[in-house]
């Protein structure tokens, strides 16, 4: 890693702020693609922003028995997702923050945000909050090991657990096909769907309280708190997609912030990759039904198995 310069700090700031601001756009694109695939005209790309703005203009209603934790959690959620966004390479790989935390710390960061969300869900004491917290933790504790295995596989190839180094390695070395990465990629996609409450594990658009996983944990939130929660959920999806892009499609990432020409390629490359991934996710969600909740462990066990296979292929066959 190079020395921390003013340019680097500026670039770090730009990348993080860009991620936070652009995250709802990815969600808007995904929803728009879903609408198109269902023969609907769709609400437009900017709908998540309108939703967040609307919520910020409302008065918050908070249960009388809510503890301070309940009010705190939306900020914790957004802050932890913004921190994750600072670690994940989106435009540049060699940013000053990258050395602060590696991919394993990132998994911990996601776990922490989920823990706070589950605590807040149980804080009010409604049946749905506890129900959602219970289900969210079920999905979470099964998804985490699979995600770790994906990171281990990529780390073995790149000889580093640091995401920017892995991305750098894949992006700037001669093109090699790693069968182990194919396994890891599928496993990561399954984890992404589960962790972001997408179909087939959860249904983000349902109004049926009894079937909800993630939504049930945030039922008690309103107004600005809900806006922050929704924003952080959009950012979480953005982060996951960017992790996937950094690991499996790293081409086009600029190396150093000091190199302005790299950005000319990095920005359109990121937009193109996000657009393609977003529409791909929309396709997956359109084709699948939501599975019965007790199928989620099987689904995530499959993800773990695939990630494990990837790791073994790398360790035993070296490919």
């Amino acid at each position: 890693m190079g020395t921390v310069t003013l340019t680097a700090v500026l670039a770090q700031g730009t990348a993080t702020v860009m991620a936070v601001l652009a995250a709802p756009l990815l969600l808007g694109w995904l929803n728009q693609c879903r609408a198109w695939l269902q023969n609907r005209s769709g609400p437009g790309l900017l709908q998540p922003y309108r939703q967040i703005r609307k919520l910020f203009h409302k008065d918050a209603v908070i249960a009388s028995n809510a503890s301070p934790l309940f009010r705190l959690v939306p900020y914790v959620e957004l802050a932890s997702m913004a921190l994750a966004a600072a670690i994940i390479p989106t435009l540049w790989t060699r940013l000053p923050f990258a050395i602060a935390a590696d991919s394993i710390a990132l998994v911990g960061l996601f776990a922490m945000s989920r823990l706070f969300l589950a605590l807040a869900a149980m804080d009010i004491g409604t049946a749905f909050g506890s129900l959602g917290a219970r289900r969210e933790m079920l999905v979470g504790f099964l998804a985490e090991p699979a995600l770790l295995m994906v990171f281990f596989t990529t780390s073995l190839i790149a000889h580093s657990t640091s995401l920017p180094t892995i991305a750098d390695g894949f992006a700037h070395q001669p093109f090699v096909l790693y069968p182990s990465l194919a396994f890891a990629c599928v496993a990561f996609l399954m984890v992404l769907l589960a962790e972001n409450a997408r179909i087939p594990v959860d249904n983000p658009t349902t109004h049926l309280e009894l079937t909800m996983i993630h939504e049930a944990t945030v039922l008690e939130y309103s107004a600005r708190h809900l806006a922050l929660i929704e924003w952080s959920a959009a950012l979480k999806l953005f982060n996951y997609v960017c992790i996937g892009l950094a690991l499996f499609l790293p081409w086009g990432l600029a190396e150093r912030p000091t190199d302005p020409t790299g950005l000319l390629l990095a920005v359109p490359a990121l937009l193109l990759k996000l657009a393609v991934t977003g529409s791909g996710l929309a396709l997956i969600e359109t084709l699948n039904a939501k599975m019965r909740i007790f199928r989620a462990p099987e689904f995530l066990a499959t993800a773990f198995l695939l990630a494990m296979l990837g790791l073994l292929v790398r360790l035993l066959l070296g490919s």
Binding site: R34, L37, Q38, N39, R40, A127, F128, L131, I199, P200, N203, T205, T206, H207, L208, E209, L210, T211, L219, T286, N288, A289, K290, M291, R292, I293, F294, R295
Partner: protein
């Protein structure tokens, strides 16, 4: 006839519905119920009338469905002690009907479940709003409502209370789940959050206008209820409508069935997270409703059926338009049926979920569409066909699996059958007057309308006053029979499957809380 050995005179009632009537004593009532139950008959409805102004007593009416049609039993009760024999051991569906009659009339059974059913502390316990001397416009102060739910205890058992207000735009109902983890041990429903006083309101209607209110008992069953009302009234007047009017009624009824089945099929896909199904079926349903609006003047033809005939006519061009729309609709539904059948994710959610076995369906008296998915053959269009169904030859749909998949399959098959019937009706529509004038209705006689709505058999009981008003009108929705069965369908299933099971029944909240 079998019941004649009890020495009761049973006489047929005039009208299109196959109804026999008898005035019975309490012991005979119980005896006939036992005989009907043993002969695989079912309970259609129980309701009461306040006749204290005429002869100083109350009446209990029990309608039983057997292989001959509907058997209507009238039991006189004294004003001082309006008690009648409990029949809920023979027909479990009677429990809620008996509780509702206690709330509304103060007529009661000896023993049984004494909790209020429709009374949500909106009126005091000793006030009975459907009694004739109770003023309709009285407002009582709201009281605290302490309803004793049945508690399930044990290691790790906890309760989930859902509703009455839900996260979606649906009717209100409270569901109390006792669960261990995700598994449901028991569900207790509490309905009655939409009490509108419809039965009281009927009494201020002129008898030739009551069909307007009947059509609004449960909005998705408008044609069936208004037809049943008119059938009851025409029976009282001793007049039958023209064939053309009856064929048009059947056309409207089959289109109502089709629209509801299409809506449900989409919603069932959506509840399993398959939004594409919702979008496609919503489009088909919307096309159907818009065609209704264009040709019959209303998306849901609430005021199309009139006493003595129908208010809408079908021109030759309208007939051609409806006929031409049928083939593409049939094809599109067939394609979607293929998609549903081939989708492993959907089938995984549907198959085996919320199963009601045929034996349980018999025991609980499951009716209509849900009944036909659990081996209960009852379909008024086949069993006791009134005109024009006697000429159309309705093909009965019957499955035995009794799970969500079976209820989906019954809907697909009935939608196809309804389209076949629509085609037959449109091709063979006879000519004639739309409306025939009706005689004055018989006074203080029971009139019965009995029509197979999309959920199941819909019944309307009607009595006229001498000055042309309604003395008593009691509309009965099959949801009365099927709501308690839903409590059984969820047992042993997991909590997140409840919305899907509930939707597969899609029962009316309004229709059981008038």
């Amino acid at each position: 006839m079998k019941q004649s050995q009890t020495g009761i005179s049973i006489q047929p009632l005039p009208g299109a519905a196959a109804v026999r009537y008898a005035c019975v004593s309490a012991t005979d009532l119980r005896k006939i119920c036992e005989e009907t139950g043993a002969a695989k008959g079912t309970l259609q409805s129980i309701w009461a009338c306040d006749e204290r102004d005429r002869d100083g007593g109350f009446r209990l009416w029990v309608a039983l469905a057997d292989s001959y049609g509907l058997l209507l039993l009238e039991l006189p009760m004294t004003a001082e002690n309006p008690e009648y024999p409990d029949v809920s051991d023979l027909f479990p569906a009677a429990v809620r009907l008996q509780r509702a009659n206690r709330d509304l009339f103060g007529v009661r059974v000896n023993g049984g479940d004494y909790r209020p059913w429709l009374r949500h502390a909106a009126w005091p316990e000793d006030v009975f709003p459907l009694r004739r001397d109770h003023p309709a416009d009285t407002v009582y102060p709201e009281e605290a409502d302490r309803y004793p739910f049945v508690r399930v205890t044990g290691e790790g058992v906890h309760e989930i209370a859902v509703g009455p207000v839900h996260a979606g735009t649906i009717e209100p109902g409270h569901f109390r789940f006792s669960v261990v983890g995700e598994k449901v041990l028991r569900l207790e429903e509490r309905l009655g959050y939409v009490h509108k006083g419809i039965e009281k309101r009927f009494e201020s209607f002129a008898i030739f206008e009551g069909q307007r209110l009947a059509a609004r008992v449960s909005g998705d069953t408008a044609v069936a209820f208004s037809w049943a009302y008119c059938m009851a009234l025409e029976g009282l007047c001793g007049t039958l409508p023209n064939q053309r009017a009856l064929w048009l009624r059947a056309l409207l009824l089959e289109r109502e069935r089709l629209a509801n089945h299409l809506g449900d099929l989409g919603a069932l896909g959506n509840d399993a997270g398959f939004a594409m199904g919702l979008v496609q079926f919503s489009r088909l349903k919307e096309d159907l409703l818009r065609t209704n609006a264009r040709i019959f003047g209303a998306r849901y033809p609430m005021d199309a059926v009139l006493p003595g005939g129908v208010a809408v006519d079908l021109s030759n061009s309208g007939r051609r338009e409806l006929l031409n729309a049928l083939t593409p609709l049939e094809n599109e539904i067939a394609v979607l049926q293929g998609i549903y059948a081939d989708h492993s994710g959907l089938q995984d959610r549907f198959v085996g979920t919320g199963r009601i076995t045929s034996a349980l369906a018999v025991q609980l008296g499951l009716q209509g569409l849900a009944g036909r998915a659990s081996g209960q053959a009852g379909d008024l269009r086949c069993d006791h066909p009134c005109a024009p169904y006697d000429q159309l030859g309705v093909r009965r749909v019957i499955l035995t699996a009794g799970d969500v998949a079976a209820r989906v399959a019954v809907r697909f098959a009935e939608a196809q059958e309804s389209m076949r019937l629509c085609r037959l009706i449109l091709e063979g529509l006879p000519s004639g007057e739309l409306l025939v004038p009706l005689q004055e209705p018989a006074i203080n006689r029971p009139g019965i309308g009995w029509v197979e709505g999309w959920r199941g058999p819909v019944m309307v009981f009607l009595q006229a006053t001498s000055d042309g008003r309604i003395r008593r009108c009691h509309p009965h929705d099959p949801s009365w029979q099927n709501w308690p069965v839903l409590e059984h369908a969820i047992i042993g299933n997991i909590v997140p499957d409840f919305p899907l099971i509930n939707k597969s029944f899609n029962l009316s909240y309004s229709g059981v809380d008038l």
